[in-house]
Amino acid sequence: MFEQIVPIPRRDLKRRLALVRRLFLFMQLVALCASASAQVPTTEYQEALLRRAAELELSGSPVWETLLFYRPRLMLPGQMSLGDDPDFFLSSDGDTDPQAELAATIASFFEQGNEPDEHPQCRFPARYLWLKEQLQFDPIRLVERDCPAYQEWIAGLDPQSLTLIFPTAYLNNPASMFGHTLIRVNSSASLKGAPLLAYAVNYAAATNERSGVVFAVKGLLGGYRGSYAVEPYYRRVNKYSEIEHRDIWEYELSLSPVETRRALAFVWELGHVYFDYYFFDENCSYYLLALLEFARPSLELSSAFRFWAIPSDTVRVINKQPDLVEQIIYRPAAGTLLRAHFEQLSESERSLALALASGELTISVFQSGEYSGGTQVRILEAAFEYLSYQRSRKKANTPEDGVRAQSLLAARSKLTKSADWTPIVTPTVRPDQGHPTGRLSVGTGLEADRSFYEIEFRPAYHDLLDPQEGYPEGAEIAFFELAARQGEGSGFELERFHPVAIRSLSPRTGTFRKISWELTSGLWRERVDSFPGELVGGLEGGPGLSYALFKRTAQLYGLVDGSVKLSSAYDQTFAVGGGPKLGGLFDISQHLRLEAKAGVKRLALGDTHTIWAYGLSARYTLSDSLAVVAEFEREREHAEHWNTFQIAVRSYF
């Protein structure tokens, strides 16, 4: 404060000094009182810092934008932060005024009298770290505070590097194809070959909601608060791998220990505030990108995700950055390993394993069967894996099942041989290498005798005629699929709109028997009286069965669908009914897939009518982002029969 020292006669020095000390104390008191009324008095040094910050244009810097989540406003000019918690901002205008927030942040670093860990330097270590670096804080004029909790946390994490963790889809749940992303913080201990001992940082909606539907709706609309959780990675692996049976891909990032600590400083800052969680755009993956962008400011990751952030797309973007991903490791789920092991057993070995798992066959009887050591080991291990799988699905949770599980392990432990399972093969195509999730199709065709053009836009995700590599078998989900057709002599008219359409065709084997199902919702055109037809709104779907043949190059399915439809063109406006559908998917080559379908629906309530259709589609993959699809369908709806041919080019982005 007092930079100048004025030389004064010695005699008066003591008195003057005493006076100065008292004056100084008085001013500190004034400052304290002033700060208590929420006005931080500006000091000369603080003003110097603010000037320097203005010179460097820090409030407009991409790093400041990253730290505060500023985004251009949709309608109005200027910026708005995605932060929803008032505690995230130090200025009352912080959410729209980066300069005000920067000034308030710098001012807050000068605060005095806070409890340890409550000081803004400790609540916002990322901002402090960056501003200190940019403005070269003088530790004498701006005291650096101790942050015991933060330091202890960092010490406990011992952050050396980060790994991007990507759990993928699980069976019979096409929505899980979207996946999830989280970060693993590798420590010196975990880097010695024990990744399970690292910590995972996970951003998710904080809720105890059990209803999938409520969770989906509230999650879409920002009805939950998102927050960060830190827990040992093994807990995450247990959840994804053992319970949900999701394969995990681990992308080891090249971040240095310094960069890793920057990311964690940001996690600490964000961990103490909440953000409204939006399933589509402000979700796990989106916030994760911000962590990486702060860790390494040269990365530009989130600009590609203005409107929605699909986890697999964010992984794609991260993977494409030069020098960011060093190694990719595949961690198969327990269910995946189980399937792979069962495939290595003979038919009779499989039966024995299943019988041991269910208890139909007791271990003592099994062991009296004189199988070779190696065979016994494999059967016992497979039996335990199957029993664990059933237990994870809550199908074998009686105490007897527990006893049997322990006995299987005990019996196995007495055998010296190794099972020598053939190691599981890492899939040749990773989910992030599959086709991009957005799709635009342009096509032309002939419906009865009328030619048309069709444009279709589908922001996400994948259908069974899209190139299959990197996507789980039999899983199809479309969000907001919108198609318009232009017939002869007319403009483009809405042909169909599906907010959600899902198909899950899970091939059944002797051991793994899942029900297939499908669900379609939205609007589409039906030829009620005449072409081009009327718009019908409805919900259709139902369960079924599916089987794979010819080493999984063919998949057959049969479904029974219910149908509820509404249309102003219907008698009584509505129609309810249902009917069966049969189909098959055939992979003729790596590029060529065919689908054949036939089905009938009888609508018996309301507007009674019958719709039947059969057809054949073919998709030929041209490249990573292009495919061509040709379709033929013969339909009868209401009164008319006709054929439709269509050929379209699908481009993925």
Binding site: I243, G402, L409, S413
Partner: protein
């Protein structure tokens, strides 16, 4: 100086996961072999001496407190929690004498490569003592494991760490 029971983790519950019962302290994490649950999840323990900003905090336990019997800290907190959270996987690996979960435990104890070899085979040979039945608690598993380690010249030093 009040011994800080260091922060545990925010347990974010996904719709499919079950809520955990509160940890009752001591080393009684509560997990039982093959009991069908995934063990007691550490819930939010917002126990810090001065409170931190915000009403939800998260943290790591790097300390050794929080696990005592008659006031004496018997085991490393992290090891106790690891075993409790991974009982079934550790038992499976133990029955085979190899596996990632068992290897991670050995790493947590600080074993060298040679010691790990001895650890895996001693564990497999004594499977029936360490994991005698379904429903055995993780405390009892650790107690039996201690005995097994004590009997082994190469590994006896690790008995007090497990």
């Amino acid at each position: 100086m009040v011994k800080k029971l260091l922060l545990s983790f925010v347990f974010v519950v996904a719709p499919s996961a079950a809520l955990a019962a509160p940890n009752v302290g001591g080393c009684g994490w509560g997990s039982k072999l093959m009991d069908g649950s995934e063990g007691i999840a550490p819930q939010v323990l917002a126990v810090t001496t001065n409170g931190t900003s915000g009403n939800q905090t998260f943290g790591i336990s790097s300390g050794t407190s929080g696990c005592s019997q008659e006031g004496v800290v018997k085991s490393n907190w992290q090891t106790a929690m690891y075993i409790d959270s991974n009982m079934n996987k550790i038992a499976k690996d133990a029955s085979q004498g190899q596996g990632e979960s068992l290897d991670a435990l050995a790493g947590l104890l600080g074993m060298s490569a040679a010691e790990k070899v001895a650890f895996f085979s001693a564990t497999k040979d004594n499977f029936g003592r360490i994991f005698p039945e379904a429903g055995v608690s993780s405390e009892d598993v650790r107690a039996s494991w201690k005995e097994v380690l004590l009997e082994n010249d190469q590994l006896s030093g690790y008995a007090e760490l497990i």
